[in-house]
């Protein structure tokens, strides 16, 4: 019965894993190098996938002890599914690039090695090691006070504006709206209508599942809140004034001011509409920067996500993890590869290529990077915003717990329900989901 995804996935993965293993054994007899598997996702296929393969090739060439076999495993979600399946099949990859908010799930299942384990061997302390990484990144890499992942590529939401529209509306394109009030004022000026029909919106946000939560988290943070407990996986703050306020702001932007459309636009639609001039502003990931650079046929500018009581954005991205259940030799090989890949140089070049920012501060001290930042002012803005960045939403059963608030936002955006209706419901559903975790961990104190 092909209907059962779980079984399907396992039955597909099993033979594939088996073949890979057989190949590995076969080849390792003839070559001395330690062969390890590396799973990696990309959010955009094509150039990034090729670039990653190129870096791995470079690594394989420069030394003779380790041979990394890099496998492109699809989206962030698919990579998680494939890695879990491989673990269940008893053949985990040595290394994977994993979405930062999924890390703790692997920890809960005791499937990945803490990074301390490797740092000890090279006589580093965790805090020394972490001090080179942007502070906002620490939380997502840490579970119960232990470091489990090394950030590799990161992004935050950022405001993109059409500078030509700004000028035409009598606004200053060099000063994008800084706070919610300015956003409303600018937004209203930027709207264009033909009769009842809006031909140009002031602002558009990605509203599809997952992305919607991430951007919304930024607004909650701007509003002075945080809609989950950053230190404890079993608690969310949906039914709070800060979360309500942010959602009410969405509602006002749409239903009161008409600045945003009342529809569930996905990120692709948002960027397409931005390029086509059907919206003057949008908030998308900094990971979209290179894409915008290439496709905008007009002058654009970037700015911080507008603040209410403070600036605040969540950090998204992916980190390197090393799996348990592999041989000692493989583990050493994995650490060697991961240390190389997360060295300032590699992180810098990946950042310049992809548009993600580099998680290490020292990457930016390198001359090539300084030159690049000087040339690309927009990248500098994204980097500046980092000081206000916080960790990415991550709880027990992250995706499931995120869905009620995602549904709530979508309901308000489309005008199906009011803020007052959806917020308690979302909180109730999330609490229900978090119950088993709280039952098991109620004695655990925060980090």
């Amino acid at each position: 019965m092909k209907s059962f995804n779980r079984i399907k996935k396992i039955t597909i993965t099993l033979p594939i894993a088996a073949i890979i293993v057989i190949l590995m054994i076969g080849v390792s007899w003839s070559v001395a190098a330690e062969k390890i598997n590396f799973y990696f996702p990309t959010s955009v296929q094509g150039p990034l996938t090729r670039e990653m393969q190129k870096m791995v090739k470079q690594y394989n060439k420069m030394q003779n002890d380790v041979k990394v076999v890099a496998t492109f495993t699809g989206s962030y979600e698919e990579t998680k599914i494939k890695a879990s399946a491989a673990v269940k099949a008893g053949r985990p990859p040595a290394v994977a690039l994993m979405s930062a908010n999924f890390i703790h799930e692997f920890v809960a299942e005791d499937q990945i090695e803490p990074i301390e384990f490797f740092l000890k061997e090279s006589k580093q302390t965790t805090s020394d090691f972490l001090s080179d990484f942007w502070p906002g990144l620490h939380a997502n890499a840490t579970v119960n006070g232990k470091l489990y992942a090394i950030p590799f590529q990161n992004s935050t939401p950022i405001l993109y504006i059409n500078a030509d529209h700004f000028r035409e509306a009598g606004l200053d394109p060099d000063n994008p709206p800084k706070n919610w009030e300015e956003l409303v004022v600018a937004g209203k000026k930027l709207i264009r209508k033909e009769g009842e029909k809006t031909t140009r919106y002031g602002l558009m946000l990605p509203m599809q599942y997952n992305y919607v939560n991430w951007v919304f988290q930024g607004f909650v943070m701007s509003n002075g809140g945080q809609y989950y407990n950053t230190h404890y996986l079993g608690e969310v703050y949906y039914d709070t004034s800060t979360t309500r306020g942010a959602l009410q702001f969405y509602s006002d932007l749409i239903h009161k001011h008409g600045i945003m459309p009342a529809s569930i636009t996905n990120s692709k639609q948002v960027s397409t509409d931005f390029f086509a001039g059907r919206t003057s502003m949008m908030i998308l990931s900094t990971g979209t920067l290179s894409h915008v650079r290439k496709n905008a046929q007009f002058n654009y500018n970037v700015g911080f996500v507008p603040s209410k009581v403070r600036n605040g954005v969540p950090i998204g991205g992916a980190s390197m993890i090393i799996f348990k259940g592999i041989t000692e030799k493989e583990r050493d090989a994995a650490w060697d590869f991961v240390s190389w890949l997360t060295a300032p140089e590699q992180l810098g070049s990946w950042s310049r290529f992809s548009g993600y920012f580099a998680p290490r501060k020292s990457s930016y001290e390198m001359p090539v990077m300084k030159e690049f930042m000087a040339k690309n002012k927009d990248a500098a803005v994204a980097l500046d915003q980092l000081q206000y960045a916080g960790p990415w939403y991550s709880t027990f059963k992250t995706v499931a717990v995120a869905k009620p608030i995602g549904d709530a936002i979508q309901a308000v955006v489309t005008g199906k329900k009011t803020v007052e209706e959806v917020i308690p419901e979302a909180q109730r559903k999330a609490d229900e989901l978090l119950k088993p975790y709280n039952a098991a961990h109620s004695y655990i104190q925060g980090q």
Partner: protein
């Protein structure tokens, strides 16, 4: 899709084989003792297929059923036997109820139209001529496109404002619509894609079925005084009943086993409005880490699919009597 087609073909053969055994040769045949050499040979031929069926279909089915009575609480060392508690949790889950409701709407809204349209195509294209063969291939084409690719294509068709659909609707003066973003519309948008994709496939079955109806039945009807509609009503439809039943079952199975477009186009949203049962299972198994719930929902789906299969075998049996 090719794999699907093979599946289907195999399923058809299997069903037909079973039906043959039961009707044509009499029920006793199946119970004949083992010493019959032909019988052993038959089993030997079947063995490899059977082995794979047991290994990859029946064993997992039993395993899944077994698992549905257990729950591994977070942090617990072992799975606990919880009897029917997973089922209780499942039916208490609003998302599951929504998915079931959506699936019912989706089933009714895709199965009937795609069968009717497929049948209509078949009726107008039975006699082969070069022109009609060409049209047939065109109509069959969507079937050859993998659902994932079709979904990716339709994202652009549905793109609000500038998509193909809105582009042409705009020429008729119809405002742009958020086909996939409006929770009231999204499910119907997916349904249209499904109909587009499947109608041509069902057409093929109907063409085969129509070509199996002897010309003399129509000639006799003409002489008896039947017009176009009466021929359809009294000759074509009844004689096509076995084919229709088969297509109906295939279509129903499609409904419960295909969610690629949901994954590509809407992720079940907005607001759960396009969540289907299989996607719900997928989400719970892989995204929500609630394997017990996924397992339980799987058990229920298997039951529905089994019921459909049995229904299909019975109608096929009945169909065979028609070939007097």
């Amino acid at each position: 899709m090719m794999v699907d087609a093979c599946h289907l073909w195999l399923a058809m053969r299997k069903v037909k084989y079973m039906a043959d055994n039961v009707t044509a040769r009499g029920k006793k045949r199946l119970l004949k003792p083992f010493y019959n050499a032909g019988y052993i040979k038959a089993w030997l031929y079947l063995a490899p297929a059977l082995l794979f069926l047991i290994l990859f279909t029946y064993y997992p089915m039993v395993q899944v059923l077994w698992d549905s009575f257990f729950l591994k609480e977070y942090g617990a060392e072992k799975k606990l036997f919880v009897a029917f508690d997973n089922y209780r949790r499942l039916f208490a889950d609003e998302d599951f109820i929504t998915a079931v409701k959506n699936n019912l709407i989706y089933a009714i809204g895709t199965v009937i139209p795609s069968i009717v349209i497929g049948f209509g195509f078949a009726l107008s294209l039975t006699q082969s001529s070069r022109f009609k063969n060409c049209i047939r291939s065109l109509l069959f084409f969507p079937t050859l496109v993998p659902l994932v690719a079709a979904a990716a294509l339709w994202i652009f068709i549905y793109f609000p404002g500038i998509g193909l659909l809105d582009y042409y609707l705009a020429k008729l003066g119809i405002q742009s619509t958020d086909w996939l973003g409006d929770p009231d519309i999204a499910l119907y948008s997916l349904m249209i894609l499904t109909i587009w994709k499947n109608a041509g496939f069902y057409m093929l079955f109907f063409i085969a079925g129509l070509q199996g109806i002897g010309e003399e039945y129509y000639e006799a009807a003409s002489l008896e005084g039947a017009g176009w509609w009466q021929k359809l009503r009294y000759v074509t439809l009844p004689l096509l009943a076995p084919t229709s039943a088969f297509v109906f079952v295939i279509a129903l199975i499609h409904v419960f086993t295909h969610v690629d477009h949901v994954i590509v186009m809407t992720l079940g949203g907005p607001m759960g409005s396009t969540n289907l049962v299989l996607y719900y299972i997928y989400q719970n198994a892989h995204e929500f880490n609630d394997l017990a719930k996924a397992t339980t929902a799987t058990v229920l789906s298997v039951m529905v699919l089994l019921a459909i299969s049995f229904f299909s075998i019975r109608t096929m049996e009945r169909g065979i009597h028609y070939e007097s």
